[in-house]
Amino acid sequence: MKKKFKSNLAKFAMITPISLWMYIMVALPFLYIILISFMHPGTYGGVELGVTLDNYKELLNPLYLVTFGRSIVMSTAVTCVCLLLAYPFCYFVAKKNDIQKKILMSCIMITFCVSMIIRLFMWINLLRSEGAVNHFFINIGWIQVPLKLVYSNMGAMIGLIYMLLPFMILPLFNSIEKIDYTILEAACDLGAKPFQSFINITIPLTKPGIFAGSVMVFIPSMGLYFVTDLMGGSKTLVIGNLIKNQFITARNWPLGAAMSVILMLITYLLLKAYQMAGGSMDDLSGM
């Protein structure tokens, strides 16, 4: 009897804090956001009770639709560039010996030690029209006039790629490292050209990493408003900017909430697609 009580006490002590925290700080706020996306905006921010679909109707305004579309195009482009940079990189690093691999991958983690805002600020300085990067390319004669590498769509892209590249590299490296090279040797013995075995063997084997990396780049890139705020031009580039503006500047919470619900929906659909393609949720948090 006493033992049973003690066992129940242990169970209670372990499960209560996490359950309460998750219910109050995650479930409740998210339900509340969904709820206020159906309410009227209050005069000075906040909400007025009532049920309406107006906020979702307002999202059909071409202004917002264009931004949603632009954001998705932007995220797709960023994901593709990250994949094209990270795949060969991980492939080459994976061929090194164990100690070299460890050092090279630790270097990726070290980038997280400097605040990302400060790193972005340095990129702004480097990429300006009179900055070091333009200076360098003019000096070696590749360009005559400075390129607009910052305060433009290009600048926002560079910022997003810079911030998210490590999140592509880490899962990709994990799955490329696991390739069994004897399979590739067998393919070579059987007469496959390197390119053929790359397409037919290496890429399918590393699919989990490709999918996990793409999800870990695509989803956050839709919300990283401060990167586009700092490095982008005057256009509103990602969904995150729209939401932030509604909550901070325009103070139209219900409209902002409706936008967030759409963003959650996009995230949910992407994750469902990811799982249907055989992706594991654990790969998304295993960094």
Binding site: M14, I15, I18, T111, Y162, Y225
Partner: protein, 268 residues
């Protein structure tokens, strides 16, 4: 054929170098510029070596205040998230209970959803129940997004966990309390440490979620972000360089510890 192989090898080296250049260019400029004696904006052209920025840093009280806020928040939320997360991971591994599946699903939300959504939902809740925004709300928010990472790390360690050791300990007369502290925790230590480290890193550099709940208590990244448009002064470079060196030192020391422990092993 041989030439092609050689070409491929140099392509490999050039490609990897370019990727590292892309990742490290801003960091090296930060470190170099922290010793740059230039005093004209944007503080980019080299005018000679100096330690001045490291001295001026101690006079910049608003920056140091923001940094100490960040450290208080990061340490408090790491400790809380680690305690709640570790207990939760063990509890969820060991017991069946009502709503376990739901909790499991909720854990993924802060990890996968774009941060801004968590930021605004916490903002609406905090303002609805009238908690004044500041240190408290920042800590509550940071603990929320740190917990899942602690749990996932501890859970990975639990995957290879053998329950019979605990039973043996209980059979040998140790009580549950002692078993927990002398058997369970040491075995899970690498997972807990890894989770705590990740939580600390995430908390210290968080911009998006903090932005929505900070009130008057500015954190270090928010403080820097505020001054980006007008130009960040070089003492920020000095502080960044100090943080960078401290982190590298810390990682080398703790990593060394983990290696040593693993080598000795728990005999399990």
């Amino acid at each position: 054929m041989k030439k092609r192989k050689k070409n491929f090898k140099s392509f490999r080296i050039v490609f990897c170098t370019l990727v590292y250049l892309f990742l490290f260019l801003p960091i090296s400029v930060i470190v170099v510029n922290s010793f740059n004696s230039t005093t004209t904006k944007p503080y980019m052209s080299w005018k000679g070596f100096t330690f001045d920025w490291y001295i001026k840093l101690w006079e910049n009280t608003s920056l140091l205040d923001a940094f100490s806020n960040t450290m208080i928040i990061a340490i408090t939320s790491t400790v809380l998230a680690t305690i709640i997360g570790t207990l939760g991971a063990i509890g969820m591994y060991r017991y069946k209970f009502k709503g376990k599946g739901l909790i499991d699903g909720l854990l993924y939300i802060p990890v996968v959803i774009p941060e801004i959504v968590l930021g605004i939902s916490l903002l609406t809740i905090f303002s609805n129940i009238n908690i004044p925004r500041g240190m408290l709300t920042l800590i509550l928010a940071h603990v929320t997004f740190c917990i899942p990472f602690v749990i996932f790390n501890v859970r990975a360690r639990l995957a290879g966990y053998d329950n019979s050791i605990e039973e043996a300990s209980l059979d040998l007369g140790a009580n549950r309390f002692r078993t927990f502290f002398e058997i369970t925790l040491p075995i899970l230590a690498p997972g807990i440490l890894g989770g705590a480290l990740l939580a600390f890193t995430l908390s210290i550099d968080d911009v998006i979620i903090s932005y929505f709940v900070y009130g008057q208590t500015k954190t270090y990244p928010l403080k820097v972000m505020e001054s980006v448009k007008s130009g960040v002064s070089p003492d920020v470079n000095a502080l960044s360089t100090i943080i960078l060196l401290a982190t590298i030192l810390f990682v080398v020391l703790t990593q060394g510890n983990i290696f040593k422990r693993r080598k000795g092993g728990y005999g399990i």
